[in-house]
Amino acid sequence: MASAVSPGMEVRRIGGSQDGRVIELYIGAQHPASGHMRLIVYLDGDVIVRVDPDIGYVHRTMEKLAETREYVRVISLLERMTIIDSCNITLPYVEAVEKLLGVEPPPRARYLRTILCEINRIASHLYGLGIGGIFLNHSTMYMWAFGDREVFLHLASLLTGARLTHTYSVFGGVRRDLPRLFIDEFSKAKRYMLKRLRDYDKLFFNNPVIRGRLEGVGVLKPQRAVELGVTGPNLRASGVRYDARLTGYAAYGELDFKPVVGKEGDALERIWVRLREIEVSLDLIEQAIRSLPEGPIFHERFTKTIPPAVRHWLAKGRIKLPGGYVRLKTRPGEVFTRAEMGHGEVTYYLVSDGGIKPYRLRVVTPSARNVVLFDELARGHTLMDLPAIYGSLDYFPPEADR
């Protein structure tokens, strides 16, 4: 951010305006790719001297709004931060409230959450790959990735009834059971996607035109990545083995999971990590389906108070909420939870004063942590490398602005 100094003053400080060498270029604030933001780029000729990401165009005061709503009504609010990854972003919040309520979700519910989280991750990565493609004028990659994303949105809608805003995880479990049809449809989707990943490798990843644009561009050293607090595939591409899923929330602790770790830390490696993570996610879903435990999907504390007239829904794989669910009271306390989204690690810090609404909810999203990379990686590169760097970061402004 240019902080208190106006952009014109920055130019004078960086390059001296006497010879007019440094110019400033405003990119945005329309919708450059994945949301509204502006990049203020300072250029010496064609070389980037500095990049100021001008954030905040889609700031919606999520944290403050959360304080004005009952716990259950906050779930669908928080989904709006990252609509493409809605199960991953709400899961840590749901787990935080569950900890304060003293409710442990049944095993089947934990597995179902994992399945939807991984479907979300694949869809989010495909979205990021598509956006990365169109940044490099590779329209085919864009259309393919967005088309294949439909397959996973369809799977999500089979499971939850909605394509994007699932509101699937609720306190004490999940809202729908796995439909019988899902297992068959998923195995077809898996075979299809693995085939498509080989196509992506040929069309995009190994394409000399793309390699020429991405290889050796925006290199992030592991030490620097850790210092900056970068997260997600961008961190792992630099060779740092960190993934919040390793902490074993939901059902991850019971599944065989190895994070994808890169080496080079350049833009190409970041794309590679995303491509390989799709494979890992497909494998995780298959494992979760195979070892899916039988049993209820909603905690007994809530199911026993469901009115008898609507209990028949439980047998049909849908839960009903008891009347007291709106005004749930948690014990006073503070909880810190985290989860790995498609873009990286999201952390929640929830403070409760024992009321029916959160006293304070602090959210730190992965994009908010990764935004620092624009300046860090682009310096010294030419302006043409900026889209390549942006595309490789999978930055999502609505998520960063909150």
Partner: protein, 157 residues
């Protein structure tokens, strides 16, 4: 050099091989997707089942549901603002009598913003109309995942 040439040819060949596949889309107004079981469309209301408990209005995250006083009725009844609804379906989950239910419709056209705000009486009548239409809607396409093409559409007869 040879490898690079090969990679270029590979990339082009992969793109060309996809040309023969049918697109992952269909002509929407002529055909409509046959929604999967449990799809969350607009909310329908049956006033004869409603007990006026107001739980739906309390849980609605978008405040699309509000309780109204209806002349000649002692209890408050819910009204529906379709413009605000986010189709989360939480109201249907908490309704203790199944007076609220999910439909498989979400593409509804209204003349004005005001007509999207329905009081309990309007909502009851509108729900009846939508239920009737749901049966009689035009040609439907069922979506299946396909190993070869991604998504495949099959007309429902």
């Amino acid at each position: 050099m040879k490898n690079r040439l090969r990679s270029h040819v590979d990339a082009l060949a992969t793109a060309v091989s996809r040309l023969t596949k049918s697109p992952m889309t269909f002509f929407y107004p002529d055909y409509e997707e046959d929604k999967p079981y449990g799809y969350r469309g607009v909310i329908l209301y049956s006033n004869e089942k409603c007990i006026g408990c107001s739980l739906c209005a309390q849980i609605c995250p978008a405040r699309a549901l509000k309780m109204y006083r209806v002349p000649g009725d002692k209890r408050l009844r819910p009204g529906y603002d379709l413009g605000r609804c986010i189709f989360c379906g939480l109201c249907t989950d908490i309704c203790p009598t199944d007076a609220l239910e999910l439909s498989s419709v979400h593409d509804k056209v209204f003349d004005s913003l005001e007509s999207m705000v329905m009081d309990p009486v309007d909502w009851t009548l509108w729900s009846r109309k939508v239920r009737g239409e749901e049966m009689a809607r035009g040609r439907k396409m069922r979506v299946w995942i396909d190993e070869d093409k991604g998504l495949r559409y099959e007309e429902v007869r």
